[in-house]
């Protein structure tokens, strides 16, 4: 029997993440954080929460400076 090639887990995830990276409706910083942690083999709930917290704090700092600097 000719066995159709079964995608490995890594192949499935690579293809999926690459598709998400192209999607402009998503927050690209978030998808980049996921991809980065996965690349480092450190994608866990705790690590992802920490990275997203860092990203949020940086974004809020910028937004606050822009907003309150403007008013």
């Amino acid at each position: 029997m000719a066995i159709e090639k079964i995608q490995s887990a890594s192949e499935v995830l690579d293809a999926f993440m690459s598709e998400q990276a192209q999607d402009e409706s998503l927050d690209q910083t978030t998808t980049a954080v996921i991809a980065g942690l996965r690349g480092d083999d450190k994608l866990t709930r705790t690590n992802l929460l920490r990275k997203l917290d860092e990203v949020r704090k940086a974004a809020l700092k910028d937004a606050t400076m822009q907003s309150e600097g403007g008013s």
Binding site: M1, I3, E4, I6, Q7, S8, A9, S10, V12, L13, F16, Q20, S25, L26, D27, T29, T30, T31, I34, R38, L43, T44, R45, L48, L49, L52, V55, R56, A59, L60, A63, T64, S67, G70, S71
Partner: protein
């Protein structure tokens, strides 16, 4: 792909001394027979331990390394398992010392790579493992399939995304910002009749409310807003008085709002404490809630039509079923009531915590933002003390609820909250009184009120924007994670379905080979809901799942076997050998034959090792597979010496080659003669006395020769006169072997003579062309004769 060449076990499990298995350089397939408790599983256990460092069925019972050493092996002597694989110098030996230390020597890095590759492959199937998968829940089946195909990484990814998403949605900074924004929106609607979401909207609103003052310029940006505020302050005679009136107006409003919130807060706290503390005092009842799922599932079981036993299905204690149902229903009702109370207490707790945060913020604003307004020192001091106590109350309440302990307010909280409320009420009155004393004209009063409204709104908009920025930052991530998760579930399911389809193709095909022409068809694995995998099949053309619904135990075993075979063939990357340890216990003879043919047809290039305790099955394997180059061994337990391995003759040619010249072949010759006679008798339909089960197999040569001659006397009298019968009857083999335990040995030239006699007997009734025995069922048309399958060899037959 890897096969076995040699496996040598010593001092391990049932093997006290060396137990060598030689599969030859051609890595031949092998069948091993051994009675129950003969120790044949030692071979399977040894291979599993060598490859994976554990033996699953022992480890599950918490019997570990100490169970691997033969009980009589000397201290200081190692248990060893040595394996040689096909290929160039691929070998290794694993040892277990008397101190239960494991060590392994592998010939080279290539061997290491082979062993590592074998660790992930499906190699060993034991009877106990066959239906393990079938008995799993759908979710566990899905995970098991995911594990088989190495999809742990996918599960890990999915779990990380889902876990993060759920945690983000619950983060206090996010939920707090949302509540804050809602409160501010409500305040804005109350104060100015609309939500003013940002600074630009605020400037537009400011323009609208200052327009009646006809200030001469329009508010379009920050500069024009500053000019408008300046102009409003300048209305009338006293800019300072307007400013003061505006500040007093704001303070009065803030105090009034806080006093009202404190009233609600005190009422909510009382409701919470009453409701929650009564629960905390019934801590044991609340803790019982963890049994809710268990009891609900139990209720489903004992109320199903299938359950009719007067016993608890969990502990099997005797219990009248009706009483058990009633008791469980009562307990579920009681738990449901407790759950409702707990849910209500949680709602009240959330409201109280939110109120604490809100009052604390308002108190902070009143205490810190009106330093320019003098004469309100009591109010300022009350806010400071109350804030400190409110923070402690927040922590205490959260900890009490999480720990299910009685909630007590910090000492003095009630008094200080009451004092703060009193100060707010008197402060509001005083601020209004002070404002009245300023003696503002109507126009000045309007300007002061407008400025106050703008200042309050400005603060609300600023806070609202700040909260909104936090919400936006979270929601960008939450929405993305939500979308990623939802899409990934689809992708994951598609990937899993593709795998299931591939497995199903083989499972369906193999199952149909084992059970042709039966009412079960199209057997396959399918996704069930979002989280499950289940076998599905057509039963009398109707789609059915799960397997246990209609399939018998034997069919379920078939399903387990074909799933293992399909997975091995599809997913094994290194192993080209399988060990099937006692897997056909519930199969009848025809299905055993079909299994062999499945192995022969679909796994012809694989090395198969079959272990069995059933002599009938072993004989079937010999008959079917000897011609395909299989080897056969028997193991038996030799008391304190442990298990012993013997060759098991499968063909005349093989026994001649293997036994000639060896010390004692008496037993082999006996078995060979019996086997040949049994085959001839079966083929010629010789009638023998009825015997039960294995006793039927233990007929001896003298009986078979006698009955064969009797049949030949009726059907083919000339053949009965053949000299081979008298030769055999007078031989040492038959004469001596009236018992299976006769100790007399046949040695020297007698062996050759006997082998020649046996060959003569075979040649008398078999065809040199098709190598099949002449069969009483194949009558030669037009003649009183029967023939072999190809028809080229015949004998007269009345």
């Amino acid at each position: 792909m890897t096969k076995l060449r040699k496996l040598a076990v010593s001092g391990f499990r049932g093997a006290r001394f060396a137990l060598p298995l030689d599969f030859s350089n051609k890595s031949k397939s092998l069948a091993i027979f051994g009675e129950n408790a003969a120790g044949k599983s030692t071979i399977t256990d040894a291979l599993e331990w060598f490859l994976t460092d554990r033996v699953g069925h022992l480890w599950r019972e918490d019997c570990k390394q100490e169970a691997l050493r033969h009980v009589l092996i000397a201290d200081g002597e190692d248990s060893t398992v040595a394996v040689e694989f096909n290929g160039d110098s691929l070998a290794g030996e694993k040892r277990l010392s008397s101190a239960l230390k494991t060590s392994i020597d592998l010939a080279n890095d290539n061997t290491r790579a082979v062993v590592e590759g074998l660790q992930d492959d499906r190699i060993i199937l034991r009877h106990a493992d066959i239906v393990a998968f079938l008995d799993q829940q759908k979710g566990a089946k899905r995970k098991a399939i995911a594990d088989i195909i190495g999809y742990e990484e996918i599960n890990k990814f999915r779990d990380a995304i889902q876990g993060t998403l759920n945690a983000l949605k619950r983060e206090p900074a996010y939920t707090g910002a949302k509540t804050n924004a809602e409160t501010l929106a409500g305040d804005m609607v109350r104060d100015v009749g609309q939500i003013v979401p940002d600074r630009q909207a605020f400037l537009t609103f400011a323009q609208n409310i200052v327009a009646p003052f006809k200030l001469g310029s329009e508010i379009t940006d920050e500069a024009t807003f500053a000019e408008a505020v300046k102009a409003l302050n300048a209305i009338g005679n006293s800019e300072e008085k307007i400013k003061k009136a505006q500040r007093l107006d704001q303070l009065a409003k803030s105090c009034t709002a806080l006093a009202a919130d404190i009233t609600t807060f005190v009422r909510d706290v009382e409701a919470f404490v009453t409701s929650y503390n009564s629960l905390a005092k019934e801590r044991e009842s609340v803790n019982q809630l963890r049994l809710s799922d268990f009891l609900n599932k139990g209720q489903t079981v004992i109320e199903s039509e299938d359950y009719i036993d007067d016993a608890c299905p969990f502990c099997l204690s005797a219990y009248e079923l009706g009483a058990l149902q009633s008791e469980v229903a009562k307990r579920i009702d009681a738990m449901s009531a407790i759950q409702k109370r707990l849910d209500a207490a949680k709602t009240l707790k959330d409201a109280v915590l939110q109120a604490i945060l809100s009052i604390e913020m308002q108190a902070k604003a009143i205490g810190g933002s009106y330093t320019d307004v003098t004469g309100f020192d009591d109010l300022s001091a009350a806010t400071k003390t109350a804030r400190k106590l409110l923070r402690a109350a927040h922590q205490g309440l959260t900890a009490a609820f999480d720990g299910l302990t009685v909630c007590e307010a910090p000492d003095g909280l009630d008094d200080y909250i009451a004092r703060l409320q009193h100060c707010c009420e008197t402060g509001a009155a005083k601020a209004q009184e002070e404002a009245g004393k300023l003696g503002l004209s109507e126009q000045e009063q309007k300007a002061a009120t407008t400025l106050s409204s703008l200042r309050t709104l400005e603060g609300q908009v600023q806070d609202y924007e700040r909260a909104q920025r936090v919400i936006d930052a979270y929601e960008a991530q939450i929405l993305t994670l939500d979308a990623v998760f939802e899409r990934f579930v689809t992708v994951q399911n598609a990937a899993l379905q593709s795998v299931l389809d591939t497995i199903s193709a083989d499972v369906g095909k193999f199952y149909a080979k084992l059970h042709p022409d039966e009412s079960v068809d199209n057997v396959r694995l399918t996704m069930v809901g979002e989280e499950g995998v289940e076998f599905q099949y057509a039963f009398h053309c109707k789609e059915v799942q799960p397997p246990r619904k209609y399939l018998s135990e034997s069919h379920l075993n078939s399903l387990g076997v074909v799933l293992f075979l399909a997975n091995a063939r599809i997913f094994n990357t290194q192993a080209k050998f399988l060990v099937l340890d006692d897997i056909v216990t519930s199969f009848d003879t025809s299905h055993r034959r079909r299994l062999l043919r499945l192995l022969r047809d679909e796994f012809s290039d694989w090395q198969i090792i079959i272990l069995t305790h059933e002599s009938v099955w072993f004989e079937i394997i010999k008959r079917e597979m000897a011609q395909h180059g299989w080897k056969f061994h028997e193991v038996c337990a030799d008391g304190p010496n442990g298990i012993v391995l013997d060759d098991s003759p499968a063909s005349l040619k093989e026994i001649i080659a293997q036994k000639k010249g060896k010390d004692d072949v008496t037993n082999d010759l006996r078995k060979l003669l019996e086997m040949v006679l049994k085959e001839i008798c079966a083929s010629l339909e010789v009638k023998v006395a009825f015997r039960f089960n294995e006793w039927n197999e233990k007929r001896m040569a003298d009986e078979l020769i006698s009955q064969l001659k009797s049949t030949l006397g009726d059907k083919s009298p000339d053949l009965k006169k053949d000299a081979v019968f008298s030769d055999l009857a007078g031989s040492a083999l038959v004469a001596n072997l009236v018992s299976h335990h006769n100790a007399d040995k046949i040695v020297g030239e007698d062996i050759d003579v006997l082998l020649e006699d046996i060959e003569k007997l075979v040649s008398l009734f078999s065809c040199p062309e098709c190598e099949r025995y002449i069969s009483a069922r194949i009558e030669v048309p037009g003649e009183r004769a029967i023939s072999c399958k190809c028809g080229k060899t015949q004998i007269p037959w009345k």
